[in-house]
């Protein structure tokens, strides 16, 4: 009665060259993560009043390190991971190769963009943080680099859509396999969401940094940035949801319950793109009515998140009970905790509960006044992207790297210890940052050198440094396990990636078949975007290119 969520359950082998592109994306992403993590140590110590950056090679200031930390971890790693992992899940879901030329073009575009942006950041030409608000001006190579990173995702999306079209031609009337649906929905959402940052970079920032136009429009730049800046978190999260919905149930011995509900959750993320104004609650030039409407819309995101919490926990419960778990919570302890991949991802889910709740505080219109731009915000997002996403990347790597290398994971025990250590570290770090933020400690500020300090920031600062140290130690163990698996893991024959089955098969009639019609949801999303952003843009355009700003601050 169960239905596999891929087109060809018997087994589909990916071409060697395609797997090499997946591998290159993954390893490059983890390499930049290593750099980002090392720089993160300075950020954590900074809050404790210790200026570590003086001891770093190449890096000259707290802000330069912070810029690289943000761009590498939140933009380059996430793009590289998605471009690699989602190509794999799409191809496996459809039982069909993605156009190899496009997959490789995406890889090289991403690499070129990352190298260009890295050059600008390491040479001190782009100390503008990963939000790069104009009129702080970076070298043009930074903007061009970021544009190329975004373009690499569009090429990946095109590769998916070509494969989907071919699959539909060969399988008329069949539902898109769930694994492929989730993977493609992720990129369809991102295609819409990334338009804001693309327009900002190409139309405002590049011409300005090249001297073609004399100034820029700071408010419009911010607005376009946050148009993308909120749904970019969906782009970080949805590849993880592909794993949580599509793989974790299988890995933990359970089954995913509902096909339709899973698709609906992804569709809701496509619809809920235009909520970026909630990052601008305290901005002038945005009307209160608009802020209020967006606050309400933002709360709607809570809904697909709760759907996910239900579906994933239910799947884990099925697994735990099949393995002999009893009672209300007994099943939880029977999840295969000894599987490093499951362990890391279940811990990531626990962190996401706290991350989601702290996110509601940020989004809460009036409550936001207490926390906006304070350390509360990094306290929140180190639980979400910093753990729910990053620890899930790690958990996925614990089966994906063995699959790619055809070698068993080196030291499963160390891998499990690493995940628990990471969770302990982030809980202490975030507790520190959140407490500091509530006491008014600002974020992205070199507290260690600041001309002011408050007594209430002292203990939170120490907790931040202590938690950060544990996280960095945990990451060092992860990289050890990763490298040792690649060079010294026991050879093993791993035939396929783990994908789950669903209890209820996809419906072949009724409203559910419309879930697969991406163009419906794209049109609906564009209409919603026009309603939210239309009036603001109508009043604000044409751009006021008056701010000349500061260069390489």
């Amino acid at each position: 009665m169960s239905t596999p969520i891929v087109s060809d359950a018997a087994g589909f082998k990916l071409e060697r060259t395609d797997l090499n592109a997946v591998r290159a994306n993954l390893y490059f992403g983890f390499a930049v993560l290593a750099v980002g993590v090392l720089l993160g140590l300075d950020q954590a110590y900074n809050y404790a009043g210790v200026d570590l950056v003086r001891h770093y090679p190449v890096i000259n200031s707290y802000y330069q390190g912070l810029t690289i930390h943000g761009v590498f971890n939140a933009l380059v790693l996430t793009t590289a991971f998605a471009n690699g992992f989602i190509v794999l899940t799409t191809a496996r879901g459809l039982g069909r190769r993605l156009p190899g030329a496009l997959v490789h073009a995406a890889l090289w575009t991403m690499l070129a963009g990352a190298v260009l942006a890295a050059w600008a950041m390491f040479t001190g030409r782009a100390t503008v943080l990963y939000t790069f608000y104009p009129p702080l001006q970076a070298h043009w190579s930074f903007y061009l680099g970021l544009a190329l990173v975004v373009i690499s995702t569009w090429i990946t999306s095109a590769a998916q859509l070509v494969a989907l079209r071919g699959w539909r031609r060969d399988n008329p009337g069949r539902r898109v396999p769930l694994l492929a649906f989730m993977s493609i929905a992720t990129y369809v959402m991102w295609d819409i969401a990334s338009v804001g940052i693309a327009i900002e970079v190409v139309a405002l920032l590049l011409p300005w940094s090249l001297g073609i136009v004399p100034g820029t429009d700071p408010l419009l730049g911010r607005t376009l940035f946050w148009f993308t800046g909120h749904p970019i978190v969906y782009f970080w999260l949805l590849p993880i949801y592909v794993s949580w919905y599509g793989m974790i149930p299988r890995q933990s011995g359970g089954t995913l319950f509902s096909d339709s509900l899973t698709r609906l959750a992804f569709v809701l993320f496509i619809l809920l793109v235009p909520v970026g104004f909630h990052h601008q609650f305290v901005d002038p030039g945005v009307s209160q009515g608009l802020k209020y409407a967006v606050a309400a819309l933002t709360f709607a995101i809570f809904f697909p998140s709760l759907m996910t919490a239900f579906a994933v926990m239910y799947a884990l419960e099925i697994g735990g009970r099949r393995r002999g778990g009893k009672g209300l919570v007994g099943w939880f302890f029977r999840i295969p905790w000894s599987d490093p991949s499951v362990c890391a991802q279940v811990l990531a889910m626990l962190a996401f509960l706290l991350g989601g709740i702290s996110g509601l505080v940020n989004a809460s219109y009036t409550l936001n006044l207490e926390v906006h731009n304070t350390a509360f915000v990094p306290g929140h997002f180190h639980l979400t992207i910093g753990t729910a996403v990053a620890l899930s990347y790690i958990g996925i790597a614990y089966w994906l790297v063995p699959f790619l290398e055809q070698r068993a994971l080196w030291s499963r025990r160390l891998a499990i210890f690493q995940s628990f250590l990471y969770l302990a570290g982030v809980l202490i770090l975030s507790r520190g940052l959140i407490a500091g933020g509530l006491a008014g400690m600002p974020r992205r500020t070199a507290i260690a050198q600041a001309s002011y300090h408050m007594a209430a920031w002292r203990l939170p600062g120490l907790m931040t440094a202590a938690g950060g140290t544990l996280m960095v130690a945990s990451m060092a163990l992860f990289f050890l396990v990763l490298v040792m698996t690649i060079v010294a893991g026991q050879p093993a024959a791993i035939a396929d990636i783990p994908f789950t089955e669903t209890v209820s098969a996809p419906a072949t009639a009724g409203w559910q078949i419309n879930l697969d019609r991406f163009h419906y949801w794209v049109i609906a999303a564009v209409v919603l975007i026009a309603i939210v952003y239309g009036p603001f843009l109508f009043a604000h355009l044409p751009p006021d290119l008056a701010a000349t700003g500061l260069t390489y601050p």
């Binding site: 305290v282 802020k291 606050a295 509601l360 500020t445």
Partner: protein, 160 residues
């Protein structure tokens, strides 16, 4: 959909409605408002924003002004890396309207321990209203990265 699934989603919807109700209550009934749009400063890339501000009231005279009995307006300019004025003195309990803008890049305007939290964007004027009930020293800091010495950008507030 299964029974549990439906029950869970209904519960989620109810929680959502409660949250939205709380939001409406805090803004409408408790009267907590976000910083809003006070106006714009029009200038072009050829003009120095510093000179334009010097000729644009109220920014021609930054500082504290009593606009009505017991009501004060504090006009502040943020610039890399300080606030104008650097010291602000206010009486406790008075209704204070902060009117602020930036002279160069985006800055923050944040008084820890209060709800005064806004962004300063060049060309836009920010406004917020607050009442300091406790006398004492407060810190006004920039909480948006604005360049190399961002962490030195602060002003002192004295409430008597």
């Amino acid at each position: 959909m299964e029974r549990f699934e439906k029950a869970f989603l209904c519960a989620a919807a109810i929680v959502l409605v409660i949250f939205l109700g709380a939001l409406a209550y805090s803004s409408l009934a408790m009267g907590i408002h976000l910083p809003s749009h006070f106006g714009m400063i029009h200038y072009t890339a050829g003009q120095k924003l510093r000179r334009v501000l010097r000729q644009t009231p109220p920014f021609d005279r930054p500082g504290v002004r009593e606009i009505a009995p017991g009501k004060y307006q504090v006009t502040v300019i943020g610039l890399t890396w300080s606030f104008l004025p650097a010291v602000i003195e206010l009486p406790a309990g008075a209704e204070v309207t902060f009117v602020a803008t930036s002279m160069d890049v985006i800055h923050g305007f944040f008084i820890p321990g209060t709800r005064v939290n806004m962004m300063l964007i060049p060309g836009q004027v920010s406004e917020c209203v607050y009442r300091f009930r406790q006398p004492g020293e407060y810190l006004l800091i920039c909480h948006e990265y604005c360049g190399r010495l961002h962490h030195t950008m602060s002003a002192r507030m004295v409430v008597k």
